[in-house]
Amino acid sequence: MMLASTLGPTPYLVLGAVLFTVGAVGLLVRRNPLVMFMCIELMLNATNLTFVTFARQLDDVGGQVIVFFVLVVAAAEVVIGLGIIVGILRRRPGATADDLRLMKG
């Protein structure tokens, strides 16, 4: 808490931006569907950090509440995403994103 007041919001915002970038780049670079999926989660959580930082800066509880919504959405995405991945792996064990190339694109 002490740290937060002395540092100001900027480092947290920068950290959020860095994490978001790591997630975005990771998604484009990594080929394992599960890791790509984790990168999306990283991006969402970087956004959460940004929301909380702004909420504190603006002294507004709204931004903190948004985080709960985002967490619920992320959880729902996990369910759907793992369902799709399991559906593919059951038909084709050990598939990576490079194997998904029946359609050019």
Binding site: V73, A76, I80, G83, R92, L102
Partner: protein
Amino acid sequence: MTSLLFAQLGTPHRIQTPSVAWSGLLPVLVLLGGAVVLMVVGALLPRRSRHSWHLWLTLLIAAGSIGCAVPLWFRVRDHGPLSILRDAVRVDGLALFLGIVIVVGVMLAALLTDGYLRREELEGPEPYVLLMLSATGGLLMASANDLIVMFLGLEILSLAVYVLAGLHVRRLRSGEAAMKYFVLGGFSSAFFLYGIALAYGATGSTNLTDIQRFLATNTLTNNGLLLASFALLLVGFGFKVAAAPFHSWAPDVYEGSPSPVVSFMASAVKAAAFAGLIRVFVYAFALDRHDWQPIVYVVAVLTLLVGSVLAVVQTNVKRMLAYSSINHAGFVLVGVQAASDRGVRSALFYLATYTFMVAGSFGVVTIVGRRGDNRHQLDDYKGLARTEPLLAFAFLVFLLAQAGVPFTSGLWAKFYVIGAAVEARSFWLALVAMLSTVISAFLYLRIVLAMYGGADEADEAAPAVPRLRIPFAARIALVVSVVATIGFGLVPGPLTHASKTAVPKIAAGK
């Protein structure tokens, strides 16, 4: 200890909860409740039956939702928009107009789904449930007046469609399409959410009315945060409407997904995403239109060109239609770019008429795809006019409408959009739009030529190909789409009038 606790509880400490005007949410609630009922009833009854009661129940629920929306439409028209849940949801003409378009998209997709499921020996009420749940998200998105509600609507919409893309469990391409759509959709949602976070940081609120008021009363000394949020939000919307340069998923996902689902993706999902785009950019960021208009301008030009030029080199009809749907998204963007009453009106008209054209087109594709949903090459359409003259005629109508030929709704849609662009003095954009029409007309004529020409080669190939079966429900969808496409082409008045009524007021410029 206990007494202390009770003493504290004893003092009446009421939490103020906002009153909810449930009647305004009825179209959404009917769809949501209907989906749950269908799911439960579907679990109790035999999964496969001779009667397509899943379909009829879906149509009934969708009709009920439209039935709730129509009285609201007149109420909103006469008494102004309804603001629900502390202005987080706003039911106005725009929300109801596009809401009805989305539900019509559900009905057409459901009609196509019935025959598809029987042919592919898939079963169960789940596709219909997912269609309705997805539409719930779309309706919520169209009426959202808060960026977080819009995000939730977007996610409800998208999550259901990811599953629908992977509906055909035995078809590897379907799973691949679902995976690609899911990863890129999640990627774009994260961008969208980061855009919301930055907009929240820049303006101090996620409510669109508050944002607009803040931007009208304050001048930002450093608007870098706001500009970054514009860009990120546009990336999010751009992915959902398949605008270039965020279109790369569309051809693959369209090719791999079950064809009835594609009709839903191209109609309802696009309509919902454009509803969000219009609400956020044209209305909430109305005063900063000089900052975002150039970006949308460039995106629209790219989308129009990519959609028309790359479509021409395809040989797979489903991919051609995917690129043509990118081109159509470009046209709607031309209307959005104008950022005027007339622009929004033309975008609404375009989305409404396009729903029928695209649902009909993919209806034909569903039928011609035959068992396995794999016959989508241009050669598979050779001689269609001879074997199935009525089906070929329906496809002809949809293709000509997409090309913007007179006596179809497509002409008026394109005419209004280009008119709005000219009024906004975007002459070059209007010119590019017309040029892309010419290029994509070539593509549509290629399919038409394949259907009506090439009969001699088809004679030899004919015995190998099983005869087409056109299910009764799909027939209804095709007839409705043809009637709507030609009907709105001959008499565009009612729809033009409705889209005029639907447009809310835009905040005056700086």
